[in-house]
Symmetry: C2
DNA sequence: GCGTATAACTTATCAGCGTTAAGTTATGGT
DNA sequence: ACCATAACTTAACGCTGATAAGTTATACGC
């Protein structure tokens, strides 16, 4: 077992210029293990390393530390999320309905992928020093999509005349809170009637910013 | 140092029936250290033990494990939370203003004690098996306070004619989401303009359920 | 006031964690 | 064919949460 292949026959050493191959494999493994275990603390650096057939210190050739590794995992996950939101806008013309569609898409993502959502939004992820502007923060573009939709609604006279960013914060807070509470409900011993209230909750939130 | 007193001269062994004295001291120390360090992971069992002048294994005579210790810390904190909500209602007659006051009190707690809030509402600590009904879940009574306030508002004709529980869910989701997002903002390198939007967000949410 | 059961706490130790320093080996340009 | 070095390993550090086994002080029955 001193020679270089794991169970899948993978040679341990990548060719010269392609050290990043291991980097990607580490991210894939970390993402998978994270979905399995459900929390960052439950996924050890050692587990990630052995999952791809490599020793733990190799990770530190590609990531500053464990935090950076999992931050990167989350950043990748946010790309899916953003894509889902963007897709929700397609074919919807009315700005109010666009906002409603975004809310539904947001909640759908949160409920269909609870583990991933919890990691992205519900858990404290250390932010590496390499990130300096808010634009680089994962999820920020997704927020901007919402702000833009509201802005269109304001210009169209559908929403009240106010700061779109503030309205977006309120809506984001509502949907995020709804998702989190539904997660909590699922973990709770008996259930609150939260799960079925989405449409009403969205109605209320949107009604709150109508003109 | 084999004999039994720490820096404060505290004898290490409690009298016969009063083993719970150490339990309380451990909870106090854990709460203080949690506030200092800002996260559970940063507070080791060893640190809690030595803070009260005791060895680490002593903790396990009073708590199942580290999770239970810190869940208990938060459960105590929740008594303050409930009291804060109740206090927020005092002197406020108008149901709409009562709901607004509850929202403010909720957010205030979430922002002043972020770690405690994260543990209680963020489902970061496993719920001990000893809890069996929702009523025992921390925060459930607080939710009922909100439902009752809304119900009064509905009866007074101030809020729309609908299910108070559904409206409460929407408002709870909004405040909870607002708190969570503000936590996220504080961890971020630069800031979103979330922190100062509370009053507007509350306005929107309440406006959404007005008659 | 003595004996003794046991509550209250300690000693010693475990396996696992994230991380680092130093060593090794395969690779590709010259 | 050489050799600089990218890519990875070996070995180890100090820390963590946790447990099993040992010790000591206390309070109650007699």
């Amino acid at each position: 077992m001193t020679t270089a292949s794991d169970a899948k026959g993978r040679p341990h050493r990548a060719p010269r210029g392609e050290g990043d191959r291991l980097r990607v494999e580490l991210l894939d493994a970390a993402e998978r293990l994270l979905a399995e275990k459900g929390s960052i603390e439950a996924v050890s650096v050692r587990a990630v390393a052995t999952a791809v057939g490599v020793t733990p210190p190799s990770i530190y050739l590609h990531f500053e530390d464990k935090d950076e590794l999992f931050f990167e995992v989350c950043r990748r996950g946010f790309l899916d999320f953003g894509a889902g939101l963007a897709a929700a806008l397609e074919g919807v013309e009315d700005p109010v309905e666009q906002v409603r569609a975004l809310g539904r898409a947001y909640v759908r993502f949160g409920l269909e992928r609870p583990e991933q959502y919890r990691i992205l939004f519900g858990q404290k992820v250390a932010i590496p020093g390499s990130i300096e502007t808010p634009d680089e923060l994962p999820g920020m573009q997704a927020f901007q999509v919402l702000v833009d939709a509201i802005e269109r609604g304001v210009e169209a006279g559908a929403f009240r005349d106010g700061d779109p960013v503030t309205m977006a914060i309120g809506l984001w807070a509502t949907t995020h809170g709804y998702v989190t509470l539904t997660h909590f409900e699922e973990d709770a011993p008996d259930e609150l009637p939260i799960g079925g209230a989405l449409e009403d909750v969205l109605d209320q939130a949107i009604h709150g910013i109508l003109a």
